[in-house]
Amino acid sequence: MKALSANIERFGGVYLLPVALAVIAFVLIAQPSTWVTLTVAGLAMGMMIFLMASGLSLIFGLMDVLNFGHSAFVSFGAFVAASVLAAMASWVHGESAALNLLALMLAIAAATALGAALGWFFERVIVKPVYKDHLRQILITMGALIVAEQLILAIWGGVPIPVPRPRVLEGSVVIGNVAIETYRIFAFVLGALVYAALHLVLNRTRVGLLIRAGVENREMVEALGFRIDRLFIAVFMAGSALAAMGGAMWAGYQSLITPALGAELMILVFIVVIIGGLGSIEGSLLGAIMVGLVANYVAFLFPKMALASNMILMMAILLWRPFGLKPAVKG
């Protein structure tokens, strides 16, 4: 038994969980083409959720601040992207693939920039006065979330808004008898790129070193003379920008968005962060992919269970590892 667990540890430990999930699902589904479609959908969904969750996780890890208003950035990102895409309808539906993609990139960039700006405002005005006071942090960010949601309702109204999808990303790629939606591939690639960038920044640069050190022991980094609060604003803005980017991607994926989107996604994001463990982007990625896969497999295998599935997954993982799979901060 011990040897077995050592072997599992050597081949990736908890990182094998999504693979195990996929294998179990393969046996249960027993139709390779369906399985591939579901797996790709799960991975794409996981990547988008990863974008939203990674920022939250890092913000918590670095400054012990849990932002319950995080989903407000997701909603703002989604709605801004929708507005930008709607404003550039001729580019979006045009023949030129370059213009198609340019419009989408502009929409995502606008959402991301707004996310960063809002993040700055949020950090300075809402969160800064209540550092180190969890109770008031939860209450205040919750209040900010209410205000943000109401603002979205006031600006964009309560009716669902259609999101035009760039022509080049419509339709599917067909390989053999497996059809894969192009947008899912795009979402997966973008998510993977962001993960790679985050991983490089965190592990190969000086700033990343400071962030990781700060997550591990903030006081020590401060004692060594670094201004961790400035670092924190940067991380907060980056996290908010990522959330907005995730929201923009999600808007394109859903193609019809409502103001309730933020609240719906927040639950998934929280589950991901809890599963993954706070403070690590590896954990967030792992959690996000598991949540995405489980959501898609279960929706196919046992549609009635779809909703509770992620909850059950979270409960199971909390029982096994109370701090999540790959926590960077303990307790």
Binding site: F60, L66, F68, I126, P129, V130, D133, H134, L135, R136, I138, L139, I140, M142, G143, A144, I146, V147, Q150, L151, L153, A154, I155, A263, M266, I267, F270, I271, V273, I274, L278, L307, A308, M311, M314, M315, L318, L319, P322, F323, G331
Partner: protein, 369 residues
């Protein structure tokens, strides 16, 4: 409320009662008296509706204060327990027909379900950080909300359930008849089943409230405050923190479920909007913070202010929206449907500048850091 205030006053005869404390208890006593005589003071239907709502919410908010104020755990699942009580009663009344047996059985099942769920959530996640717990409860509560709207055969989905309550509580039921067979009137108020229903709600709420005042003054309450102030030290002294936290979480859940039963019986309707929605959770949060965390009596003040504000703030915004109809965006922001926006802003300001709330500030204790 009356009994509890007297008890407190009697317990500390020698000490001079500080001014702020006297004001708070005076106000709470006055509100209690008004609620006790509400059907006679305000005989119209709408006011009774408000009075019953206040009674039920006082219980709900005070039980939430046990968690957030006394123990320092933030739960977003409180409406879930409230909803469990309400839905269980509603489903029992619907399937078994109007009768006290249905209320008893449904209520008992609801309370039991709340208790089991609270134990599960508590044991699973109370051992970790407060912030983790808040996330877990939020996730659990939203799953419950979606479940309630999806299992529509059972819960009526978004439309909710309407049902009849025992005939004893019907307005047509005469509690006392005079010689002519007409219902006896006291101070011009008919002594009918509706009155009995109000007092059923009021007395149950009063009993629960006094019980909660008793809990926070018991050794259990003291240990909880110790855990809130310094978890490590409480653990070191030898109190099992997880057990205490789980215990109070269960107590609060059970009381919330009972409040849900009252709500279901009073309204004769149960749906996501009145028993389970996230808006109620936000109401509870606002009420606790406005009234004052960690005071229990603050719940009374918070509930009364918020409930009255909900009725009048909307009217005020209606007027303001009309007055600014020419300005862009502003009317949208002042639209009565956007009243939550302003409550949210108020909430943030309160948490910044007034974290102890009204009762907490006046009493000069409660609320922490």
């Amino acid at each position: 409320m009356t009994a509890a205030t007297l008890e407190t006053a009697a317990a500390t005869p020698a000490r001079r009662i500080p001014m702020g404390r006297a004001i708070v208890y005076g106000v709470v006593l006055a509100i209690g008296l008004v609620l006790a005589t509400a059907p006679f003071l305000f005989p119209d239907v709408r006011s009774q509706e408000v009075a019953a709502r206040i009674c039920i919410f006082i219980v709900l908010v005070a039980s939430y204060d046990l968690l957030i104020g006394y123990t320092g755990i933030v739960s977003f699942a409180h409406t879930m327990f409230f909803g469990l009580g309400a839905y269980a009663t509603a489903i029992a009344l619907k399937t078994m027909g109007p009768g006290f047996d249905a209320i008893l059985l449904g209520g008992a099942l609801g309370v039991l379900a709340a208790l089991v769920l609270a134990i599960l959530i508590g044991l699973l996640s109370l051992r970790v950080k407060a912030i983790f717990f808040a996330m877990v409860t939020l996730a659990a509560a939203s799953v419950m909300l979606v479940l309630a709207s999806q299992l529509s055969d059972f819960t009526g989905g978004e439309d909710g359930i309407t049902y009849d309550i025992p005939r004893f509580f019907a307005p047509a039921n005469k509690l006392f008849e005079d010689a002519d067979g007409k219902v006896v009137r006291l101070f011009g108020v008919a002594l009918n089943g509706r009155l009995a229903l109000y007092y059923f709600v009021f007395v149950t709420a009063l009993v629960l409230f006094v019980l909660m005042l008793r809990i926070v003054r018991s050794p259990l309450g003291t240990v909880l405050e110790a855990i809130r102030e310094n978890e490590m030290r409480a653990e070191a002294i030898g109190y099992r923190v997880v057990a205490y936290r789980t215990a109070i979480f269960c107590i609060a859940a059970v009381i919330a479920a009972i409040a849900g039963i009252l709500r279901a019986v009073w309204l004769k309707y149960t749906g996501p909007e009145v028993a389970l929605s996230f808006a109620i959770m936000i109401d509870i949060l606002l009420m606790v913070v406005i009234g004052g965390m960690g005071t229990i009596v603050g719940a009374v003040i918070g509930v009364v202010i918020m409930t009255l504000a909900q009725f009048y703030l909307k009217d005020l915004m209606e007027v303001a929206a009309h007055a600014t109809a020419d300005v862009p965006l502003l009317p949208d922001l002042l639209n009565p449907e956007r009243w939550l926006l302003w409550l949210g802003v108020l909430f943030i300001l309160l948490v910044y500048f007034f974290p102890a709330g009204i009762a907490g500030t006046l009493i000069g204790k409660g609320g922490h850091k």
